[in-house]
């Protein structure tokens, strides 16, 4: 039964990774850049929820909504200030800028909220389910994480394939210049992508901090990198791929922590990334892109 418990924990953690990975996958697919700061937007979302719940005693669900709005605006602002001037720059410069933004968010949070981790109160009030006479327990947080992530993946797939803005995103990810010639506003599409990704990061922040209730300035960094691993694993640019990759990474991490070594669980996740990139760099659902001169 211990294995089943671990598996459920893994799937629930993986669902959170999936929600974060969606943000990476969208931005990578459309702006062709690795948004290093994505993980730190999660942390900002967590702090917004925490302070609106404790200092202003706002209803938890309303707090999540506020966090989504704040993070969406933050995502757009980051894109406008830091990434937009570098549209034509080399990927090296863009990556360094993204690392700078990530560092900026982390250290601003350190100065604003202090070094000490705060105790996050769960925003979820769903009762947990006990199976097999209490041997297997599924927490309310796990149920909510899994359900929310499935809903998000379905909603996002519908948005991308059925709406006009969504199809514009697809077109931009396929060929930026051709999309522009077809009358698609590239800047607006990229802004929209960052807005969606950052809004999802706020939701991921709520789920992550509810399941693991310590919140500090580096809370988002590691889950962010692991979610990127998940996005690569599933095939970068693919929405269902992010879900599959997220859940696999979550399960691998929890099982590795339980059966191999608690200190090495991060190392195991990174080893998976390296193996994936060596064996199948396009990931499970990714498309192969040929390099042209």
């Amino acid at each position: 039964m211990g294995f089943l418990n671990n598996l459920i924990n893994g799937i629930s953690l993986g669902s959170i990774y999936a929600v974060i990975a969606l943000g990476y996958t969208l931005v990578y697919g459309i702006a062709k850049m690795l948004n290093f700061a994505h993980g730190d937007v999660i942390m900002v979302g967590g702090y917004v929820i925490f302070y609106s719940m404790t200092s202003f005693s706002i209803n938890p669900y309303l707090s999540v909504l506020i966090a989504v709005i704040v993070c969406t605006v933050l995502g757009i602002v980051i894109e406008k200030i830091a990434y937009k001037p570098l549209r034509q720059a080399t990927s090296l410069s863009v990556l360094i800028t993204a690392i700078g933004v990530s560092y900026f968010l982390q250290n601003s949070a350190l100065l604003l909220f202090g070094e000490k981790p705060v105790n996050f109160t769960s925003v979820v009030n769903v009762p947990s389910i006990s199976l097999f006479d209490g041997q297997v327990v599924i927490t309310g947080e796990a149920i909510v994480a899994i359900v929310v992530s499935i809903l998000i993946v379905i909603g996002l797939s519908l948005f991308i394939n059925k709406t006009k803005s969504g199809r514009a995103m697809l077109a931009v990810s396929e060929d930026k210049d051709a999309a522009q010639l077809m009358g698609i506003n590239i800047n607006r599409t990229i802004s929209l992508t960052f807005a969606i990704g950052s809004g999802l990061a706020a939701i991921a922040g709520a789920l992550l901090c509810s399941a693991y209730p310590t919140l500090q300035n580096t809370t988002g960094a590691m889950p962010g990198i692991k979610a990127f691993v998940a996005a690569v694993f599933g095939g970068i640019g693919s929405v269902p791929g992010a879900m599959i990759g997220g859940i696999l990474i979550g399960v691998i991490e929890i099982l590795g922590r339980a059966y191999i070594s608690p200190q090495l669980s991060d190392a195991i996740v990174f080893a998976v990334l390296i193996l994936v990139l060596i064996i199948k760099p396009t990931g499970i659902l990714g498309k192969k892109v040929r390099e042209k001169v």
Binding site: L95, L273, I278
Partner: protein, 369 residues
């Protein structure tokens, strides 16, 4: 007359030779000044403690610049290579403490061991990593750095009459009563001899600079620069891209390993948690501020960015924030077309004005004569 021949001689020197010698002289002058100041007791103990770390950071920045500036790929695993070098050299020193008693024989060997082990790791990591490029390469080097740190932090190594014991926790080691623990997991290594000094650091920095400058201007270095500028064209000319990438990567790792050895012998204890992602980013900040591809700039940036926060305690808590802003602003200023033209035109004017003032002075002096 004498002046003229000297002038002719400097004109005959290749520009890159001139550049490298200016750097050597600059570093030597700073070293001599610091030595004089510290021997006459004019340096606070705070600065005195920073002298070796300054050399460590400078070496790391120069070596990272080889990968970032010359090869044009971002490596975020610099701290990992440094960690390998630090551990390997520390273990070597502890193991040979009784057999090699002379410090100036043991320490260079330890440094060499650190560098070679780091280079081996660099090659092992480089073979899979260098098939990738851009963002993927960066994230994989980050992953390797984290793996190295995590593995060293979880490792227990002990030695007794039965031989070497390696385990993932203290109880599994099964040491005999006479055994000693060498690596104690997250607590790290204890009892590393304090062999590092500013003189050794300076010599290593100078060696690093000489290797780097000669490498950049060598045939291999030119090939690497060609790969940076257009890898497909380079490949079509018949150069083996992977080979040149691997050499650069291994050299970066080797120099980082040397820095690690210098670092580990400066403190008596060594913990893997010190070699985290933040350290890799810090080195990247040095490279970016000093100018990507500019070796001398890396050294200057490393020195300035290490000294200023220590000297101005009031800004110390904002240090990381300033670093992050440095990264963003430097990238926008150097990579954005508009920002670049703005700088070039305005600084061009400024330079012209300064030159005019100096020229006027010159002519005024001549008139007086």
């Amino acid at each position: 007359m004498n002046n003229k021949t000297a002038l002719a001689k400097t004109k005959m020197l290749k520009p890159q030779t001139k550049k490298s010698f200016t750097t050597y002289i600059m570093v030597t002058v700073v070293f001599v000044i610091m030595m004089i100041l510290s021997s006459t007791g004019n340096v606070s103990s705070q600065i005195d403690g920073l002298l070796v770390p300054l050399c460590v950071y400078s070496i790391l920045a120069v070596s990272l610049n080889l990968t970032v500036g010359i090869l044009g790929e971002l490596s975020l695993g610099q701290a990992g290579f440094m960690c390998v070098g630090a551990y390997a050299s520390a273990l070597f020193s502890i193991a040979t403490k009784e057999t090699i008693l002379v410090e100036w024989v043991r320490f260079p060997l330890a440094i060499l061991v650190g560098g070679i082990f780091a280079a081996i790791f660099g090659i092992l990591i480089g073979i899979p990593v260098l098939r990738l490029n851009g963002d993927y390469l960066a994230i994989v080097t980050l992953a390797f750095g984290e793996i190295i740190k995590n593995v060293f932090a979880a490792l227990y190594v002990g030695i007794d009459s039965k031989g070497l014991h390696i385990a993932l926790n203290q109880a599994d080691m099964n040491l005999e009563a006479d055994g000693t623990e060498i690596i104690r997991g997250a607590l790290g290594v204890k009892g590393v001899p304090n062999d590092s000094s500013f003189v050794v650091g300076f010599i290593l920095l100078l060696i690093t600079l000489i290797i780097s400058y000669n490498y950049i201007n060598s045939r291999t270095g030119r090939a690497v620069k060609a790969i940076r500028d257009n890898s497909i064209a380079t490949e079509s000319v018949g150069l083996n891209i992977t080979k040149y990438k691997l050499i650069t990567f291994a050299l970066t790792a080797f120099l980082a390993g040397i820095a690690g050895a210098l670092y580990s012998h400066n403190y008596s204890t060594l913990q893997a948690s010190k070699f985290d992602y933040n350290l890799s980013i810090l080195i990247l900040v040095f490279v970016v501020l000093g100018g990507i591809g500019n070796i001398r700039g890396s050294v200057i940036a490393a020195i300035i960015l290490t000294l200023i926060p220590e000297l101005l305690r009031s800004i110390n808590s904002y240090r990381m924030l300033i670093y992050s802003i440095v990264l963003i602003v430097m990238m926008i200023l150097t990579s954005n077309e508009k920002a670049r033209t703005f700088i070039v035109t305005n600084f061009g004017k400024l330079k012209g004005m300064v030159l005019k003032i100096f020229k006027r002075k010159d002519t005024a002096e001549k008139e007086v004569k």
